[in-house]
Symmetry: C2
Subunit: 259 residues, 2 copies
Amino acid sequence: APRIIAITNQKGGVGKTTTSINLAAALVELGARVLLIDIDPQGNASTGLGIEANQRKLSSYDIVLEGKPLKDVIQQTAWEGLFIGPANADLASADVQLGHQERRTRHLRDALRNPSVQALNLDYILIDCPPSLSLLTVNALVAADSVLVPLQSEFFALEGLSQLMLTIREIRNSGNADLRIEGIVLTMYDARNRLSLMVERDARDNLGDLVFRTVIPRNVRLSEAPSYAQPVLTYDPLSKGSEAYRALAREVTSRHSPL
Amino acid sequence: APRIIAITNQKGGVGKTTTSINLAAALVELGARVLLIDIDPQGNASTGLGIEANQRKLSSYDIVLEGKPLKDVIQQTAWEGLFIGPANADLASADVQLGHQERRTRHLRDALRNPSVQALNLDYILIDCPPSLSLLTVNALVAADSVLVPLQSEFFALEGLSQLMLTIREIRNSGNADLRIEGIVLTMYDARNRLSLMVERDARDNLGDLVFRTVIPRNVRLSEAPSYAQPVLTYDPLSKGSEAYRALAREVTSRHSPL
Ligand SMILES: Nc1ncnc2c1ncn2[C@@H]1O[C@H](COP(=O)(O)OP(=O)(O)OP(=O)(O)O)[C@@H](O)[C@H]1O
Ligand SMILES: Nc1ncnc2c1ncn2[C@@H]1O[C@H](COP(=O)(O)OP(=O)(O)OP(=O)(O)O)[C@@H](O)[C@H]1O
Ligand SMILES: [Mg+2]
Ligand SMILES: [Mg+2]
């Protein structure tokens, strides 16, 4: 069965989408078959992988709220082995609608762990989450085997981490006892910036091995790539951003069975 | 009556809190009395103005959900003329709780436009919003006279703008007919970066005078200031960040009657 990783942090703009797109692409480079589920109503991961707004008639909304089978909603991207469950604005009302339903936190889990998913022969399912601890994000945490947390190398980002860790513990106690922390990855890191060094020291002191050795540097090629609707690994394969996400993919896969 | 400005953008990490804190401080420097309402469960604006977590027994949650009078919840900050309605983690459940209530989008409006608020003799009330179009953000849009939108000079940030404009139009048609756009301010702008120039050109071509002339440059002093629990205007008064927010305050006040 594929390993399901939720990429989440309720702090905004920390690199969740950038990590989702580029880690997915780097895992595919290593030979994996990867599905990226975009559950953020903004749909940035879908845009970043070239899915036009008019190609998202069926979206993660249909998986989570309409019970449509995964295989009917997901699309092949331009890259062999990389699939996407796109997001559209319908997701904006998902929270309110989920609120009234039975098993409201388990809709995504039921969809991703349905026996029919085996036929897709996936190695990884990544879930790009919105910047909140809403019912959509809780659905991702209940569905996932593990959580990968992008941590921006900034002061406000540290503040949110303890709240997120509390939420993960609550989910483990209520909806998903097996939920593990895949790891915390430092993003937008700038070694010349005192704050980056401070955040790294704080994170490694308090979280130890949970923090990946790989650090993602601030690299303008990472923010340019989405405007060309592709991962940085194909936009600028030799950039620092590409190298960093390849290293992250190697570190993630080394923690599980080989591909 | 004070002018109420909601500082909002559902895209995460674009500079909402940084703009809220520093525009508030710059308006106070011009002689205004300003209240900053923090309705983001992350509570970054509260932290950035030095309100410790254990000093937030009463918060915006009590204003929006418990109907407590504003004067009982707001606190004086360390800067004369600058007040704050702090946020705490209680707000995380506000959306679900608001969902079941009458007048669920008007709780904040009723609190901020209550006649007793006149006695506080405020010139401006700024509202720092979370990165979502949730009921809390809708409460801010229904309460406000106008909306100030920080726009990060990045590709993904442009994508969310049209969604936000649609939401503002919906609010104008349903809950708040007088809602105006105060303006759109470019943030984290780096003139050496092609993307910044592209985003500025796109924004000014499509939105014209709605885009403030003032542009906020990327400036490390802005991201350091919160770790010293103060606005950049007192942390490093001569920094580019301070200068930019002073210019923004002058531009905002020039659009209204003099203080
Ligand atoms: N390492 C990096 N170097 C430079 N720019 C980056 C880096 N990582 C992300 N960015 C840029 O920073 C912005 C925020 O990143 P991104 O959108 O991935 O964060 P997010 O956590 O998904 O945001 P949201 O909370 O809105 O979902 C984007 O414009 C992105 O292109
Ligand atoms: N002009 C700037 N130059 C450099 N850093 C900045 C600038 N503006 C904001 N920052 C930093 O970027 C990060 C994001 O800014 P901020 O937290 O204000 O955004 P936000 O929109 O409030 O985020 P959220 O969506 O999580 O509420 C913060 O760490 C902040 O210190
Ligand atoms: Mg994102
Ligand atoms: Mg904020």
